[in-house]
Amino acid sequence: MIVFDQVQKSYQVDGRAIPALHPTDMTIETGEVFGIVGHSGAGKSTLVRLINLLEPPTGGDILIDGENITRYNAAELRAFRRKVGMIFQHFNLLSSKTVSDNIAFPMKLAGIYSKTEIRERVQELLARVSLTDHATKYPSQLSGGQKQRVGIARALACRPTILLCDEATSALDPQTTQSVLRLLAEINKELGLTIVLITHEMDVVRRVCDRVAVMDAGRVVEMGAVSDVFLHPKHPTTRDFVFESESIDSEEMQEDLQKANGRILRLTFKGEATYQPLLGSVARASGVDFSILSGRIDHIKDTPYGQLTLSLIGGDLELAMSALEGADVHVEVVL
């Protein structure tokens, strides 16, 4: 468990303190995939680097499994860092070392593993990230997705309990992003590793994260289960992110809604309700007519969900709404 207790960070620029992270409380549970989303400059890079003290905080305490890591001396800190893997947007592999040597590097640095241990572990990790055939290649001979898989293998070498991902998919194309995210989800499940992931893409959060924190200007403005934050965003920044990920232009949408007739509702289904033929039966029972203005059916991690914007005309509106709510559908009146 990672606990932030009033953690803050500011930088000294020309003698003035510029805050990068305002005092923040946050708890990340063991074994969860925790996403931190925000625009560039929102402080998410700083936040993730506080967890392995690449950036020391200027105030507050960081407790990891009950230990206050801000009090560690240099040797304790180095030992601690071996238990926290990290992967990067630009991979940061050593160009002078082969794939195998890159993966072996953290184990060699630790100085507590025998040669055979290192060799076996490297083989095992190469297999896990499906790069066995590329063991003797140099990073420059690999594609972006392969480089990131080397990065993941390297981060796992010393069997960490936490994996930090700094915009790990931002330099990758959509397909490669998918495969890297799938690999991260697999690692999380099989190794029970806690993953903290920062990104500026809500889609990444939607695919792999259990919980999410939204950052804006050095503050966490919204935090909660991904399905809650994603389907019912409260803060304007969060809304921007959700709309962005669904390619919705919020002004355009407002205009479209103005043109529509009747009462406009936004329905949100989650889980099994997504697959039920609900609308037809509700329409028949209540006598309302409906037209679909926009809609989307997708997954949040493993949970299916649907979100529909409808305009309803005629019939018994009250009855329709209560029938929908009775079927576990979240109903929001838009206009």
Binding site: L54, N92, L93, S96, K97, L109
Partner: protein, 221 residues
């Protein structure tokens, strides 16, 4: 043909070439041995680096700049008392080596500093995140990553030392430069001058080619 190169004493040329080789080789060795740690220190103590130390950086940088701003011909003369103290003579091949190192080491140190700065900061950060200490970051990540740049730096330094070594002929340093000055310049033996210059050109070409090949071999980018 005989008449054309009538003044050329081939055994003498052979000895002079060997002397140049020894001067350049020895001074290059010591320049690298001294310049590499200075370059690493310059890098590490620099702004926003691992061991940021503004005062140490300023002092080191100042010393390096002073040695680099003195024209080599002056450095040769200024170094004479120090050279005599160090190895008993300021003449010949041995006497030329201390001033050559004094000129070569700071030059190479700057080249090392520059090639270390070229290493992606992300690699340093990643190595730190693995729990490496400063020594491990230097030897495990920084130097291997900067190796092609450092080899290119050694090549440039070697070539600079060839011309410095030739200059040391002025104060009796020996080698091809000495030959060129004593025979080619002072006795107007143009043929000797031409031969020594040709040999120096070949020497520099060979150094550059060898250096380029090594850089290519160690480049993985």
């Amino acid at each position: 043909m005989e008449a054309l190169l009538s003044n050329v004493d081939w055994p003498e040329i052979g000895i002079a070439s060997w002397d140049t080789l020894v001067m350049v080789g020895m001074s290059l060795l010591f320049s690298v041995l001294a310049g590499l740690p200075i370059g690493v220190l310059l890098f590490l103590t620099g702004k926003r680096q691992l061991l940021e130390q503004p005062v140490a950086y300023a002092v080191l940088s100042f010393v390096v700049n002073v040695l680099r701003s003195v024209p080599f011909i002056i450095l040769l003369i200024v170094m004479i008392p120090f050279t005599v103290m160090l190895i008993g003579t300021s003449l010949g091949v041995a006497g030329a080596i201390p001033p050559l190192v004094a000129g070569g080491a700071p030059f190479f140190a700057r080249l090392v500093e520059t090639s270390l700065r070229e290493v992606d900061r992300g690699i340093i950060e990643a190595t730190q995140a693995m729990g490496a200490n400063v020594r491990q970051i230097i030897f495990g990540a920084l130097l291997p990553e900067a190796l092609p740049g450092i080899i290119a730096g050694i090549t440039v330094t070697a070539i600079t030392l060839v011309s410095y070594a030739a200059m040391s002929g002025v104060i009796g340093g020996g080698g091809l430069g000495d030959l060129a000055i004593r025979f080619g310049y002072q006795r107007f033996q143009t043929d000797v001058m031409v031969i020594t210059v040709a040999l120096l050109v070949i020497f520099v070409q060979v150094l550059q080619m060898a250096g380029d090949r090594l850089v290519l071999y160690f480049s993985r980018k």
